[in-house]
């Protein structure tokens, strides 16, 4: 069974002969003469083991990045999904994003208001990262720029230059 959730894709094998669920840390696909090692970068409550399968038609293993694939062998799939619901939910928790929603919004609004070119957008995004890492008040700095009406390229370039200086701050010249 393939279960695609937000952060991980679960490849779950049912084996009524097993008593408890196992996390698979190595899977041999005889048909393809391939051995695959999912990256286990999370906490889990299971015993681990290797698994050999003779046929496996699904391409999930080859398409999913190794750190996003979780392979399990369980006695009964439905019972497993119920019993480990909390663990599965915890696995789907997102990391805190770098920018707050408000910051991301004001960045996007500034790009639009200043009518930045693709290169300028990259320059601006880099400066925003620097400002955020320097714990500068990004929303306060950017807000006036979201209200600007840019008439021509000269004015745009001038405003951007002024904004970049502000985001990097004069202290960078140390």
């Amino acid at each position: 069974m393939i279960l695609k959730k937000k952060n991980y894709t679960y490849l779950i094998f049912e084996n009524s002969k097993t008593i408890e669920p196992y996390l698979i840390n190595k899977i041999g696909l005889n048909q393809h003469q391939i051995v695959y090692y999912p990256d286990i970068l999370f906490d889990h409550p299971f015993a681990e083991k290797a698994l050999e399968v003779s046929t496996f038609e699904d391409q999930t293993i080859f398409q999913t990045p190794p750190h996003q694939l979780v392979i399990l062998e369980v006695p009964h799939i439905t019972h497993f999904l119920e019993a480990y619901k909390d663990w599965l939910d915890a696995m789907d928790q997102s990391k805190e994003p770098f920018y707050t929603v408000e910051e991301r919004t004001v960045i996007d609004q500034s790009i639009k208001a200043l009518r930045l070119s693709v290169n300028q957008k990259i320059q601006f995004e880099k400066a925003c990262i620097a400002a955020k890492l320097q714990q500068m008040p990004l929303v306060t700095i950017l807000h006036p720029y979201t209200l600007m009406i840019i008439k021509n390229k000269f004015e745009r370039n001038q405003r951007l230059s002024q904004l970049l200086n502000q985001l990097y701050g004069e202290k960078n010249e140390n």
């Binding site: 840390n25 190595k26 051995v35 090692y37 990256d39 286990i40 970068l41 999370f42 681990e48 290797a50 990045p65 190794p66 750190h67 770098f98 880099k126 400066a127 990262i129 620097a130 955020k132 890492l133 320097q134 990097y168 202290k171 960078n172 010249e173 140390n174």
Partner: protein, 327 residues
């Protein structure tokens, strides 16, 4: 070192070094693999996630035993300048580390066939009697992890045997574990930065104080020591931070006893910078603006940082060899 998974190549499972390393991690799951490259070189890996939760890979080096050093490295006047990888990645987490820009994988790889690497170097490089400069810890902290690997004695033997060889061992080690005086042609180059910079950019690394203590122990033992002041990273108050840092070093370490000092900024090739940014876009190093030259990307503030250090080391230049990496 919280290692939960160790991937071991089947062929080296019974190697003495493998068995010795495994004893340090009795709780870890051991997963037998055919070839480390199936893991280490595969695509679509998440270097940063792996780095945050490292596994260990024990393997045999099968090719590429050594490489010519990049022009971005200080060569100390040596024309035959090579480096070798006995390990790839490390347990430290320095946000400026360029390894994320060159490796697909963030797990820690150790080649247990250290002696085979030494043999290749002897056969191919040391057959030529001209001076050879060989860096053995560019892609990991070889010396700091020697308690785990015990590889150092073989390299010291090599250095004793070949006087045309200069071995550079770059480290952040808080210890100097050797019990005998190492040969003079082995340079222990300690990476040093102000403690406030270490706090911000060098996670899980030994403190400046502990590194200085290790340096003094090494000097007392008669080891050849270099102070490696790099990569210089800007700060809110760079002038004071770096000037105080040099004063602190001078107060705690007798500069007249060190072999040399080298100073350099954070520098990386443009292609590597592209990979670096892709893998770790919000790394603390991006708090400061960069400039791109023909060959490298470095901090806009690099020249002023070098100026601060040059001024702080002005008096020492008369008595100590100081190398400034200045493009």
């Amino acid at each position: 070192m919280k290692i939960k998974h160790i991937y071991i190549e089947e062929k080296i499972l019974n190697h003495t070094n493998t068995q010795r390393i495994l004893k340090h991690f009795p709780q870890a799951h051991q997963i037998i693999i055919t070839d480390y490259r199936d893991l280490f070189n595969r695509h679509q890996q998440n270097f940063m996630a792996q780095k945050a939760r490292q596994s260990l890979i024990l393997a045999a080096c099968k090719q590429d035993y050594y490489y010519k050093a990049s022009s971005n490295c200080e060569n100390y006047g040596h024309t035959r300048f090579y480096y070798t990888n006995v390990m790839m990645n490390c347990f430290y987490d320095c946000s400026y580390c360029y390894l994320k820009s060159i490796y697909n994988c963030g797990h820690f790889l150790i080649f247990v066939n250290n002696d085979a690497i030494i043999n290749q170097i002897e056969t191919n490089l040391l057959i030529d009697p001209s001076p050879l400069y060989l860096a053995i810890s560019y892609n990991s902290d070889f010396f700091a992890f020697d308690q785990l690997t015990h590889f150092m004695p073989s390299w010291l033997t090599l250095a004793r045997h070949y006087q045309n060889l200069t071995l550079e061992v770059k480290t952040k080690s808080p210890h100097f574990m050797l019990t005998k005086t190492p040969p003079k042609n082995v340079i222990f180059a300690w990476s040093l930065l102000p403690q406030s910079i270490i706090n911000q950019y060098e996670q899980h690394t030994p403190s400046l104080t502990s590194r200085m203590e290790a340096i003094n122990k090494a000097l007392k033992m008669g080891a050849t020591v270099r102070l490696s002041l790099e990569p210089l990273i800007p700060s809110d108050n760079s002038d004071k931070i770096y000037t105080d840092f040099i004063c602190d070093l001078r107060n705690k370490i007798d500069f007249s006893k060190v072999d040399s000092i080298n100073v350099g900024g954070f520098r990386i090739s443009a292609q590597q910078m592209k990979n670096f940014t892709k893998k770790d876009p919000y790394a603390p190093v991006f708090a400061w603006p960069f400039v791109r030259t023909q060959t490298t990307v470095h901090y806009k503030a690099e020249a002023s940082l070098l100026k601060i250090i040059k001024k702080a080391l002005e008096e020492d230049q008369k008595t100590t060899k100081i190398y400034f990496f200045d493009e």
